[in-house]
Each structure stands twice: as C-alpha cells, then as structure tokens.
Amino acid sequence: MDHSPKNYMNPYFAGFLLGLVLLSAFLITGRGLGASGAVKNVVVTAVASAAPEYAENSTFYADFFAGNNLMMSWLVFLVMGVIIGAFFSGAMANRLGFKIERGPNISARTRLLFALSGGLLFGLGAQFGRGCTSGAALSGMAVMSTGGILTMMAIFGTGYLIAYFFRRLWV
C-alpha cells in the first residue's frame, strides 16, 4: 500500500466546495463560519472557572457570569467538527505525523518561537477584528459586510507589506 502523502485537492475545487459549506451554514442557521470565537470561549470558560475573583472584575468575562454555557456554542462545535474533519482528511491522505514545519533557513526552535508569537498576535488581533480569516474575511465576503472586508484587506495588506522583512522564516 502506498503510504506517501497524497496530492492536495485542486484549490479552486476546494474553494467551490468550501463556498457550498459556507452557503449551507447561512441557509441553515443564518450565520457563517468562524474559528477565533471558539478559542475565546475556551479561554473565557477556563479562566473564569479557575480564577473567578480575577474574572469577575473584568467585563471581558461577563458573558460567562451571565450564566451562558459558552462551550455549548455554535463556534465551539464548529471547531470540534473542523478537528474531526481535518483529522479524517489527513488520515485518508497519509499526512498524519508529528512534524515541525519550517522554512529551510531557520531552526525548529526559532520556528516554534515565532509560531507562539504569531499565535499570540493572531489571538489578540482576532479580538479587535471580531473574527479571523474565516469569520471576518470569508463569511464577511459572502454577506458583503464592510467590517469583514476591511479586516480582510488589513490582514493581507499588512502581510504583504511586512513579508519581505520576515522572509527568512519561509524562503
């Protein structure tokens, strides 16, 4: 049996299918896809449960104390599905396996450091932007929302502007 990783799906076809999934989300529930909100719910639930006195003083955690179960939410279940679907795809395509992916000119440790900082920045930015690339950009494009498209342009615009200065990470 051939265990080498299979080819990736044609990107336009993947985009088309993803568009249908996004369309279905809107048709069934009225809202689009997203991811960063799920991570936020995890943070809020974890912090507020572990350190309630700290969390009570902050408006950021107000939702939790209002009695809402943030873990039983649309976004959290969506991300759980993403995990399942991605795993299934990776398994079928023989792409499973622990790996630290990095550009050819940096060490694994550097990569992990930057992954951490990149994640930190993305987590922070996604709060301001009220969404990440899936929530703001993708779903925003589908309903043509100004905020979503603005955020999308800011993400990619900034990326292009600074790409040169970080090229050693990737090329």
Partner: protein, 200 residues
C-alpha cells in the same frame, strides 16, 4: 481528473443559476412590483379624503394631480370631476392609457363604487406606479359632497366605514375558539423582527 470534477460541478452550479434566473424572467407575469410590495403599499396609502380633494380642485394644486375617472364613457360624459380624464377600468392597462398615466403626478382614482377604484389602485401599484390614491365613496357621494358644494361634515367619508351599529341589529358575536378544539391547526409563522447580533 480532479479538474473535471471542478469543471462539471462549478459549471453545473453557475449554469443552474443562469438558467433559473432566465426562466423566472421569462415566466414572469409582467408585474413591476412584487405582491408583498403591493400589499405594503396598500396598507400604507391612505384614502384621498374629500377635504384633500376639495383643496386640490379649488387651489392651484390641480397641476400636481392627475384625476382619473374609471367609469364607462357615457357616465363620464354625463358628469365628471373637473380636470378628470376618462379611462374605463377594463382599459386600465392598455398601452395608450399608460402614456397618459405616466405624467409623474399623483394619480387620483375614482369609480362608480369605491372598491373598484381600490382594485384599480392595486393594479397600478403592481405595474410600478407609486403615487396612486383613491378618492373614497361612490360617484354618488362624490357628486353630493364635492360637485354640489363641498360638505365639510363629510370630509372623511368612506364607503368602507361602518354605517350601522351592527350589534344592535344582530345579536350574534364572533365565535371565540374553544380551548383544544383546533380541527384545522395552522402552522406557526414568523412575523418580521430584527435579529439580535452577537459578537465574538
């Protein structure tokens, strides 16, 4: 091979859209406003009261209105409102009259009976006209309260107002549905309301 899948499915998707839309346009009934839009316009537009009509006829506001008499020619020739043009109601949607109607002024309709003018108003709304008002009452009442001298007491007359104290005559009341006697349960429907957005 993968590209074939893309080609076929995407082609199918967009072809379906193009064909459905073309089909809808071809089978459209020649309306210029949807039924829901017309229903909204009907509920929002008020009758053009005799007070307004009196003002429109006597003041110099005549140029802002196009008064249309929907009755048949012989009745129109006998007597009609000053400045009115005659479009017998069966001919309302004929091409020659459409030109006369598209002057941009507010159209005021009246007929032998009030509800016929209302029906004509509905038809004009459905053809895309927006400024169409109905002069209330039958032609008889228009004659009595406008042509033979404006009667302020009847300024807001309408055929669709109750002319009797109904309960005094008929001692029947509307039936109150009994609890649990729903033989024809209808599915619940959702009224208009704005969704409450959340955030992340």
């Amino acid at each position: 091979m993968i590209n074939q899948k893309l080609n076929y499915s995407a082609a199918l998707f967009f072809a379906f859209i193009v064909l459905s839309v073309a089909f809808c346009q071809l089978t459209s009934r020649g309306f210029d406003a949807s039924n829901a839009q017309v229903a909204d316009m009907l509920s929002e537009t008020e009758l053009f009261s005799y007070a307004d009509l009196h003002q429109a006829i006597t003041a110099s506001k005549k140029d802002k209105f196009l008064i249309v008499d929907l009755r048949e020619r012989s009745l129109f020739n006998e007597k009609h409102l000053p400045g009115a043009i005659n479009i017998p109601k069966q001919e309302l949607l004929n091409k020659q009259h459409q030109k006369a109607l598209k002057t941009g002024n507010t159209i005021l309709l009246y007929a032998g009976q009030e509800h016929l003018a209302v029906a004509a108003q509905t038809l004009l709304f459905s053809q895309g006209y927006e400024a169409v008002r109905v002069i209330p009452g039958s032609f008889e009442s228009i004659r009595m309260h406008i042509l033979e001298g404006f009667n302020p007491a009847k300024a807001f007359y309408s055929s669709d107002k109750a002319q009797f104290e109904f309960p005094r005559f008929m001692s029947v009341q509307a039936i109150q549905p009994k609890e649990g006697s729903q033989e024809n349960p209808l599915f619940p429907d959702a009224p208009e309301s704005t969704p409450i957005p959340g955030g992340c």
